[in-house]
Amino acid sequence: MTAIYGLYNSPHDAQVAFDRLRSAGISEGDITVMSSEPLEEYEFGSRDRKTVMPWIAVLGAVIGLTGAYLLTSLTQKAWAINTGGMPIVSTYTNLIIMFELTMLGAVFATVLTLLKTARLPSRLPKLYDPEISMGKILVGVSGADSESVRTALQSGNPEIIKTR
């Protein structure tokens, strides 16, 4: 599948190309934008903002808490030793382990959600250019190398337009 993209020097130019691509009938989801820094001030950079990550972190925390409760209470019952006059299942001291594993659950859930939703690790796609790391902004489309796309990309005054 052919990919066509332009490399832009400023986010403003990238935004112009992005808008023209949409006007040319390319759906937002089909337009790829890449940059070496987050550009949330621009419309193209504020896409895909919605995430359920905080809720998954909470779920991870609940799993961590439940696991810690089961680990401490079941194992203490499995080999019952009276320590310092404390009860066999000593809630106060177990709360420390439960707290740590709750937080660990939240952290792991957050990281796994990040990896899953940001599609990491992955191979670099066809629509990628190392010039992005030199400060350029890539705006491109996969599988639609038509004249209208090329004109739209050109309207943003790109440094170069490439096809792959």
Partner: protein
């Protein structure tokens, strides 16, 4: 930011990664030699037993435990400060955060080594790990040492992730600029980072959530380290103030360590354009706040014990005020309060050099504080027949020195392979809106705006 500016910034910050100077190899060789001496000394201690240390009845905790508490305290510099600054959106944080997070990761690793070093048979340390063994025995979850195991490992795991995740875009930057083996290695490390808006949003969301999680974790870690002492009925240990007192002390020593490291990086890696006097000013103010808080806690702790006048505790109290440990106690007060206070308060003398001098004093003072918490109390237990003394021996001193060399070595190696300042975060700081917000914050900090 124009591509030219962006390139210049990246080139400046990637120079230490892509070019190696001779002084780097010399520094690594020296630090490695000292670390090897420490490892060999540990081997000598394992072979001959703990008798080669100054630990003896009734003082079984000496330098090794002091170092443990000290390094765990130093670890509070990084991730905690970075997380707090991230949450309050302090714009000046950008060049500071990674320098700080690295301290956390390495200080935790070094700190966690000391309970192992202090074990006569370190190969049995895995007994702390909860796993279904054939004997059906599990760790004793009522033991503060098991709490340490869970707390330190949670903090270490979270801190490493907090350090590595925002480095992914910088790895991608190196991948695209490097060639040969570097391209392959950084290609693998960057995990295929592309820089799509979705990836940026997810990364920032993850960092925000982790920052929120890490603050209570960090506080819990040093509280739990304080429980190692306060759960024991030993004079001057069994105190409810120990949790917050340890946390405040840890943040205090952590900020001091961060300032020293930043000053060294600024000088050695020529980062004068990025680590500005403003950063030292702001961290100096935080250090001053923590110095006052530390003084407040020490006064509270001492006054309560003196007023209570319990004979067991007064023995320890007077040994630190006027007795054998008094020189160390008053040196600690000098380093932690008397020297930093004027250096950080008087605006005219609050330069980078003055802030660094104050920080060096604080690091020494906080090591003394850890020693004074541990040794005098064990030397003067409740009954006079269990009194004794402690004199450190050469293996403990060598291992202490090698722990500092290990920190320096790990830091050198890290700054060689990973940009010590987050490049993409610095670029974000140059966005017009954020620059404007930063100017307002700076003006507010300088008292120009109400």
């Amino acid at each position: 930011m124009t591509p030219e500016k962006s390139n210049r910034l990246a080139e400046d910050l990637l120079r230490p990664v892509l070019h190696t100077s001779r002084s780097f190899y010399i520094a690594v060789a020296i630090f490695s030699a000292i670390v090897l001496c420490g490892v060999a000394t540990w081997g000598y201690q394992i072979y001959n037993g703990l008798g080669v240390t100054g630990d003896n009845w009734p003082v079984f905790w000496g330098f090794h435990e002091t170092n443990f508490v000290f390094w765990i305290g130093i670890s509070h510099a990084g991730t905690l400060i970075s997380a707090i600054l991230r949450i309050v959106n302090a714009t000046w944080r950008r060049p500071v955060t990674r320098c700080a997070e690295v301290i956390t990761a390495f200080a935790l690793m070094i700190g966690a080594m000391f309970p192992l070093i202090h074990l006569g048979r370190p190969w049995l340390a895995w007994w702390l790990i909860p796993y279904p063994s054939e004997r059906g025995i599990w760790p004793n979850y009522r033991s503060p040492l098991v709490w340490d195991f869970f707390a330190i490992n949670t903090y270490l795991t979270a801190s490493l992730l907090f350090l590595i995740l925002p480095a992914l875009p910088d790895f991608a930057l190196i991948r695209d600029r490097a060639s040969g083996w570097r391209k392959r290695v950084y290609g693998w490390l960057s995990m295929g980072w592309q820089g799509t808006p979705k990836q940026w949003h997810r990364l920032e969301s993850a960092m925000h959530i982790m920052a929120l999680a890490i603050i209570p974790i960090a506080i819990s870690v040093h509280t739990i380290v304080s429980f190692d002492f306060s759960m024991a009925v030993v004079p001057m240990w069994h105190s409810t103030i120990f949790g917050p007192y340890f946390v405040a002390g840890a943040i205090f020593s952590g900020i001091a360590a961060l300032i020293i490291v930043m000053a060294l990086l600024r000088k050695l890696l020529h980062l004068e354009a990025y680590l500005l006097p403003l950063h030292f000013q702001n961290l100096g103010k935080l250090l001053l706040t923590m110095s006052l808080l530390w003084g407040y806690f020490v006064f509270n702790e001492r006054l309560t014990i003196w007023y209570g006048n319990s004979p067991h505790e007064m023995n320890v109290f007077w040994s630190t005020q006027t007795g054998k440990y008094a020189p160390l106690f008053w040196a600690m007060v000098l380093f932690n309060f008397v020297i930093p206070f004027p250096l950080l308060t008087i605006k005219r003398i609050r330069s980078i050099t003055a802030t660094v001098i104050a920080s060096i004093g604080v690091v020494i003072g906080m090591w003394l504080e850890r020693f004074l918490i541990i040794v005098p109390s064990l030397s003067r237990k409740s009954t006079s027949y269990s009194w004794g003394s402690y004199t450190p021996q050469w293996p403990e001193i060598v291992i202490l020195c090698s722990s500092f060399a290990a920190m320096a070595l790990l830091y050198c190696l890290f700054s060689k392979f990973i940009p010590i300042i987050s490049i993409w975060e610095l670029k974000v700081g140059q966005h017009p809106q954020i620059k404007k917000a930063a100017k307002v914050q700076d003006a507010q900090a300088a008292g120009e705006l109400v």
